[in-house]
Amino acid sequence: MEKKELAVGDSTRLEVIFSTRRYNNRVIKRPRIETNEGPPNKHVQITSQVVRRPDSTYPVIIKPYKLDISQFGEKVRDEIKFNITNVSDSNLNLTLIDMPEGLFELKLPKTIEAGKTAQGVLKLHQESIEMSFEKSITIELDDEQASRFTIPVKRTRRTVGKTTAQKSGH
């Protein structure tokens, strides 16, 4: 959270991070927010459908299902591609529902024909190249259930030179 005291009319962001661990099926979390407004406390709520087999989801399968864009050497790694396969018998339209601000840009196919695979591309912004983070992107399909899929995005930035420098500094 950026601010803990808000003037009248002011606002702040509250980032809720959920570690899916070994959860299975539907998981609901309701973090509680205590303020000087007094009781009852207010809540935000996140819902997810944690899957053990992300390679067998429906109506699409995303591969890789986690985007790891980590960089462990000097060679800049700023882009990752992923495939979305439509395993249903209807064409599907995709909508981007949520992604973090300012870290990367995302190219998503607008439509995936039945039985076909389309490619998405995530490219880091120049300012994000030196960063490490764990975020996620959420997409929604226009099937009957309006199915949503969230793809974790992880970047660890570590170079041999920096590691050595840190070690020698102690």
Binding site: G9, T20, R32, I33, H43, V44, T47, S48, S136
Partner: protein, 67 residues
């Protein structure tokens, strides 16, 4: 009768003066729910909610506890 109306008017006037001074903070969360849909195990995912101060006094966020 006139006295009663006058007294009531004065009391109401006083209340109207006092209320803004002792304004109440208020937290509003425009979108308080988010559905991630399908997510794989052993991953970290995140979503940003916006918290707004919509009362007539400043809002202090004392704690956020996982639920």
């Amino acid at each position: 009768m006139k006295k009663t109306i006058l007294t009531l008017g004065l009391v109401l006037g006083l209340i109207m003066l006092i209320v803004p001074v002792y304004g109440a903070p208020r937290l509003t969360i425009p979108e308080a729910e988010f559905n991630f849909g399908y997510v794989p195990q052993n991953a970290k995912i995140s979503h940003v909610f916006w918290l707004k101060s919509t009362g007539d006094d400043s809002l202090r966020i004392l704690s956020v506890k996982p639920g």
